[in-house]
Amino acid sequence: MVLEATMICIDNSEWMRNGDYSPTRFQAQADAVNLICGAKTQSNPENTVGVLTMAGKGVRVLVTPTSDLGKILACMHGLEIGGEMNLAAGIQVAQLALKHRQNKKQQQRIIVFAGGPVKYDKKVLEMIGKKLKKNSVALDVVNFGEEDEAKTEKLEALVAAVNNNDSSHIVHVPAGSNALSDVLLSTPIFTGDGEGGSGFAAAAAAAAAGGVSGFDFGVDPNLDPELALALRVSMEEERARQEAAAKKAADDSSKQDKEGASSSQDATMSENVATSASESENKKDDLMDDENALLQQALAMSMDDPATTTVNTRDTDMSEAAADDQDLALALQLSVQEGAKDQSGETDMGKLLADQSFVSSVLASLPGVDPNDPSVKDLLASMQNQPEKKDEDKEEDK
């Protein structure tokens, strides 16, 4: 949420006609620019973004820093490709444009798309970098297009000269099937030094490619585990709600069957353990049955039948866990434990859940669940504490 004024320097040199980025380098660059503008404006509504071109007849400012996204998108139309990229002049003009920004409180940032070759010396670039640093301007460089060792070295030196506290970055995007914008989404250029951008990145990824690198919601759980978890949980809840609503009528008979099956607590426990284990293994095939179980459990709870409740809940919990939401499942188990506090089945429940190894083994057997996932571990740890606390409370009550 940093208040920032950004100038984006676009390369519209002849080198942008090349098609090694789809559809052309120039188009890929334009998409990336649009994405960046959106991200910046979304992370803070007072952010402003401006655009200038570095090649063509000369450096030309297309739009001065503004928060109006429409203006920026409009100016990207009808841009002509030609000439050679003038990096030094481009950066200097960008710096000047930022200097005359309206809101002096904004931090200054320049984003350069360096596609064509760089004809300036390393020394010159380093001096420019120092000047930028002196005036507290941050610089991000997207190195794409021409692959040239000298060019990479020069750009790295430039960013190193400007870099102050890791506020400047350089990103190398090799040619290939990945779109330029998608690659940029995961870089610090978008995530804004680790905060604020990941929400937009998730939305953009979902809209554009739908799960960029195979993560469920386009959000890397490593980058933002809480967001990934929250998204996952809300999806699960929504799904569960929808399916529960859909199957409300059809399940009384099966519910009766479940009730009959429970003779004693222990027997039921072991039975359900067995059933839930097998259920978890066949979870993909038995998704319908799992949803039935969920519904029955809900009905049973409303009927206030303690034994069945705990049993079915356990069953449901396992199936929910099987439905790829182990965190929600464990949370449900915890809450069920709370509810079952005054019931006799509690001790057994507690013991069973307290059997850490058992739980982890069940979780391990569930496809898609990694017991080493830190969130799972945390919940396991809290679960461990829960049964212990319960025992303490019980002793106090007695």
């Binding site: 002096k104 120092k130 000047k131 640093k133 002196k134 005036n135 507290s136 506290n165």
Partner: protein, 187 residues
């Protein structure tokens, strides 16, 4: 009178400062007394500080203190034989030398320091750097809303400049401090 109370901290800026050693180290009450905390410059030896005030002030004098530094023990021993105490000596070379003051100019950059003649130019002598105030041309500082301090170079021309302490001394023009207005007690 120390004008520290009248500094508008929300607008204070410093260009080319090393973020680990920022301006508050030299300006703020607690920090500037601490000898370990200095204001240090980053990319080169110049520093540009912008200090706005909450009300109009008249600036009388300014103290700019250079950093103190421990002397290498060996050289101490060379000068005096068996002495274990550390002597603090002011490190002359990296203290500021030429300082230009500009009044009421907002958001100056390094590029426009030469566009506008300074209200005053100071050349700091060793005594100044040890804490002796530099008396300013009072007539030029009668109506100051904001002060820009531009440190152009340092004593030896090295790459970084360090400043230990900056004290601004002066008086306020007769404006009422709204916070100081209190309701007259009814008898």
């Amino acid at each position: 009178v120390d004008l520290l109370d009248f500094v508008d901290w929300t607008g204070v800026e410093c260009l080319n400062q090393n973020t680990a050693h920022p301006l508050p180290n030299a300006l703020k009450q607690g920090y500037r007394e601490d000898e370990g905390l200095n204001l240090e410059s980053d990319a080169d030896e110049q520093l540009l500080m912008y200090i706005p005030f909450t009300q109009v002030i008249k600036l009388h004098s300014i103290v700019i203190k250079g950093p103190e530094e421990e002397v290498d023990l060996q050289s101490v021993h060379q000068a005096q034989a068996a002495c274990n105490t550390l002597l603090y000596k002011f490190n002359m070379s990296i203290s500021p030398q030429t300082v230009k003051l500009y009044t009421n100019k907002e958001h100056m950059g390094f590029s426009n320091v030469s566009d506008f003649p300074p209200s005053d130019t100071l050349t700091l002598s060793p005594e100044n750097l040890q804490g002796k105030p530099v008396v300013l041309k009072y007539v030029k500082f009668q109506n100051v809303r904001s002060l820009t301090i531009f440190i152009e170079d340092n004593q030896s021309g090295s790459d970084i400049t360090k400043v230990q302490k900056i004290i601004l001394q002066g008086t306020t023009v007769e404006t009422t401090d709204m916070k100081g207005l209190k309701k007259i007690e009814e008898h």
